[in-house]
Symmetry: D2
Subunit: 361 residues, 4 copies
């Protein structure tokens, strides 16, 4: 089950210390101009070693395209791609071969499959998200043609909370600071919090928020594949994610209906809503307003402290992980959240093409 | 896109004021004993008119099975079923034919499809969940054979919060009170809150929590279809849901890794975790601990107050909805949350059958 | 696995002697006018008891629609439908409860599922095709809007072969004779052959041919889901089908490449091919020429002669089937072949909407 | 739509003159020993340049595995692989850039996608089948563990027909002659026929037959995904295939039911059939007998003769193809037919795991 999407589909492969991470993008319409520099730039936002906040594993994460593109344009055929793994330090993991790291996937993989690649977490490593970022970059290129923008940013690190509505933020500043919070004062505090955790050999969690502007009315399949349900599915499939909420989210459930309803009105002869507690989705279908949601990331499970656990033989033991790890995944999660959002939207864009017969004749 | 699941699949149909709501259950293994009384009892938990807290629409919601069962046992073939709609008051909706109710699906359906069934919300009505409850009941019958139990309950209504860990609750009390909170003191407060909202012609939201016990280690597809991602997808596909979190959820992101990690230990020669911030899922795969999650439901959009809006011709207008509606969906959402959870688990149970070659020979 | 199609999907249910046969059509675009009389007429072409050539089981096969249609137009939501089984003579099958009829599905169902509905073949009965005909009728309504016609006909019964190219036939005559061969002289011979077999308590097989006119260039997914591969899949899924060939088929493999190639030329400024050995599909994609194919149907397995077999206890026994059966399925297979072809084409019509970005902007 | 299969899935990519052909195998159970030499040997049976009967394009077709395997065993994760294209002579195709070769996919790809890779046929090239052979090799490794064997062979070239039942053949001889017909006398005649065609700059078609032994009773999904329907789908998706028949096929439709029925009897306390017109499948489900089928391949469309056609601008023109091509695809089609059959069987093996509840408890 390594395929995501219905019409715009990403199939991915790759272990952290295997030969390569890669995938196949299927269903991307023909004739899309492929901006290779943009795709590589998206990967660079995800890659380790990009700042002092991220793992020092030195991966160039250079993507190679294997098919589906000619003369800078998609052919309508499947697009194969891969990123070679280069800077593996597999021996860092020798001592973990037979041990289950707490709150990692070691124990569950071992029990499910009877075998696992223990090196760097194998398939459960966040390196797997390389394929998501490449797939998402194609989706972004498609959505750009429709005037849709997707901006994610770090909105909380531990208790350091960006207490501002997204409408008060300037997303052009997000990439100005390695922590990827567009409010630079808060970004500095977040950075301190991360470095403090790192210094203590510990880790810290938080939230990423995401705002999508420009989605037309009508995207989303209204029963099981509501637009926000597919977005939630996409986000919850990212490593370390513990929760998803859109629009007014958990807090909105404290309001009464009369407070929460988004009244329709006209603006420049267009139907808009006065408020947007709905988060741009009503009945599972986009209503033309901004789509926004928030994603919870747990603190990284790899800490540099002694921890009790059990081993393959089910004997108690203790571990102190080696290896190179982020003290906080949030800054690098930003492009991943955007990529998954883009994949969902591109898929629903294509799905919506056939909703009305009058558009087909 | 009215199909849910990969191997254990539910395809559903039906509008609120159409002839029937129903569906097809496909992939249910042959030889499962079908307890029709249990299935009907699940529907009764969902149906309107069951208490003063719910819509007075008087629907018996009697399920009729059309195929796939013989002599009380599933045949392995697809199971068709339906529930006739009986007590429609379609004329209640005449005045809404050309008007978009705020925070409803009217505007988005109309724009997406160019046509809609305005009577009772059509396909966007919560009556659609009848099919989910029937499908979920089959999934529950299957999971029961494995010793798995699923218990949902109302954990918050507006600001009335059940501030107790699930381990302190006695789920056998949930059905004792129509509000479906197993803490009966809190249930009374919740009921008051709902009736107060109803009296004001207003509505109120809240949260449903759900606990799954007895899941073996190994269920879940670890990349895009992580067990919790599929649970989240299922929940976010239910009408009025705004958020999903599992295990430590949003609050857990405030902890450090050293606080949050679930240390493995042995108990009766079995690998268990000391804490369960992971919510029973690690790396997207069940680890044998309790699975628990929380779902946010917005306040019902239908309020009996005058509201501004626009109509089909994009002219401003005002509405006061008629019809029969719940002031709070939460009590009736409990069996729906359980049903969707059961469908996800049954599907992953079947998917997991083929994960290891040694189990296949 | 009772769902057919990718975007235009049919999910079906029903056993021969169960309560009903039915299904759910999903993905049909909104706004399609539903000609209920046409759909019922298609079912009437399939139903038993329509002529002396078909089983005397007297089923009106009246379709009831349960959802997805309002004021004669599709809503874009899933369309539930069913046909009640009425004239079952289940007791005819009492003696077959524990016996495996030769060349039937009794033994394989029993072994696969451990249980089966022996009455009238249960799910393996050709009554299951009712759902296909209803689904196909919607697909035909959609394709009609595009000017596409689908005409199947009986082209061989036993050794009675219609030795004429389809271009020499007048399809308006197909329904003039109950055998459904548009060449009425041949139809009479075919009828004699069928009645002769029936008189002998025996059965006879043959071929159905099908011609699709008006398909635009570009339909088909060129690797695994070539247009002809999906047509073949659809046909081979019909009961009693043993083979499928399209265009020049098996015979064409005897030609050399220079004889077989379809040279392109211009006609009225349109690209056409001089010959059409390709059968309207090149590289798995329609090329605008007529699509034509041929389907082989085995002789019906139910014969009214004593046959050796084994029973549930694996003891040798003999049977003489009772019940009501066609001596030849071909006349009633004609609307089924058309229905399945229509489902495939409608699906590929929708799939092709997203092949090029320039059509999406 | 470049994915094949439901549980055992192959997703493929690659153009003839692009960087690589490859794919992702998903759903292969963990713990399968990967015999890399066997996989490469299967590729060698498919590769060009293996004999004087095949295209002289000199491709080593060396497969590289990118993920999913550790210490010679599958991990249960997705298996990425690729074969670099090496010996492209892309300039051979310069003159074909704007021309539509007769009976090729040039015109249909161009019209569908608005763009195409004209070099070597791009995605429509038979080089695409490399991914099928690799995927099929994994499926074969799985099926071997169950004692299932799959043997395809060339049964007709033009008019040179192997007129022998498969039961009279010794499949160990198939690889003894480059034409891949196990009857060596017939093989010589076939070879002569192919060389004769090649000498004339022409091509020749024919048939491949395939026999599967050892399939247990119960595989196949009995409505739309009958085992033979999925086999037919798989075969018709191979380039140049024009027809598929299984068991008694088209010829069997000339028999009466009393001749054609396969009577059940006991042999060594096992239920078997006296004859096997059913081809090992009844009601869409395997019955334990040999599965056999026949596939029609048209003569290769690339001939070295002048042919009329039209160009991109829809002007008449003539072409004489250059490039390197087989005069007959049949010898190289043999491993491709086997690979696709293996993929279908492996998928149905996995699908059948969940058919009965008693096998799951």
């Amino acid at each position: 089950m390594n395929t995501f999407g219905n019409l715009f589909r990403l199939t991915s492969f790759g272990e952290s210390h295997g030969a390569a991470i890669g995938g196949v993008i299927d269903g991307c319409p023909a004739g899309l101009e492929v901006d290779v520099n943009f795709i590589q730039a998206e990967l660079n936002r995800r890659r380790p070693g990009q700042s002092k906040l991220t793992s020092p594993r030195d991966e160039k994460d250079k993507v190679e395209f294997l098919s589906g593109i000619l003369d800078g344009v998609t052919l309508g055929t499947s697009i194969g791609f891969m990123v070679r793994n280069a800077d593996q330090h597999s021996s860092d993991y020798n001592n973990l071969k037979d041990v289950f790291r707490p709150s990692h996937a070691d124990y569950t993989y071992q029990t499910k499959y009877g075998v696992r690649d223990h090196r760097g977490g194998g398939r459960s490593s966040a390196r797997e998200t390389i394929a998501r970022v490449v797939g998402g970059a194609f989706a972004k290129l498609l959505l750009k043609r429709l005037g849709i923008t997707i901006n994610a940013y770090v909105s909380r690190v531990g208790e350091v909370d960006l207490n501002k509505a997204y409408s008060c933020l300037d997303f052009s500043l997000t990439e100005q600071h390695p922590v990827r919070c567009p409010d630079l004062e808060t970004a500095v505090l977040m950075e301190q919090r991360i470095l403090e955790a790192a210094k203590a050999g510990d880790t810290v969690g938080g939230c990423v928020s995401c705002v999508i502007k420009g989605t037309p009315v009508g995207w989303g399949e209204p029963v099981f594949n509501k637009l926000h349900a597919d977005l939630g599915h996409a986000m919850l499939g990212i490593n370390a994610v513990k929760g998803f909420e859109y629009g007014s989210g958990f807090e909105g459930t404290r309001l009464s209906g009369s407070e929460h309803n988004d009244v329709f009105q006209l603006k420049d002869n267009k139907v808009v809503t006065k408020t947007n507690y709905s988060g741009g989705v009503q009945g599972g279908i986009s209503n033309g307003e901004d789509i926004y949601f928030r994603v919870a990331f747990k603190p990284v499970a790899t800490i540099f402290k002694e921890q009790e656990t059990v081993n393959l033989q089910h004997d108690p033991t203790v571990i102190i992980p080696h290896g190179r790890h982020d003290a906080c995944v949030l800054p690098r999660a930003v492009p991943i959240v955007e990529a998954m959002a883009a994949l969902v939207l591109a898929d629903h864009f294509l799905l919506n093409q056939t909703s009305r017969i009058e558009n087909l004749l």
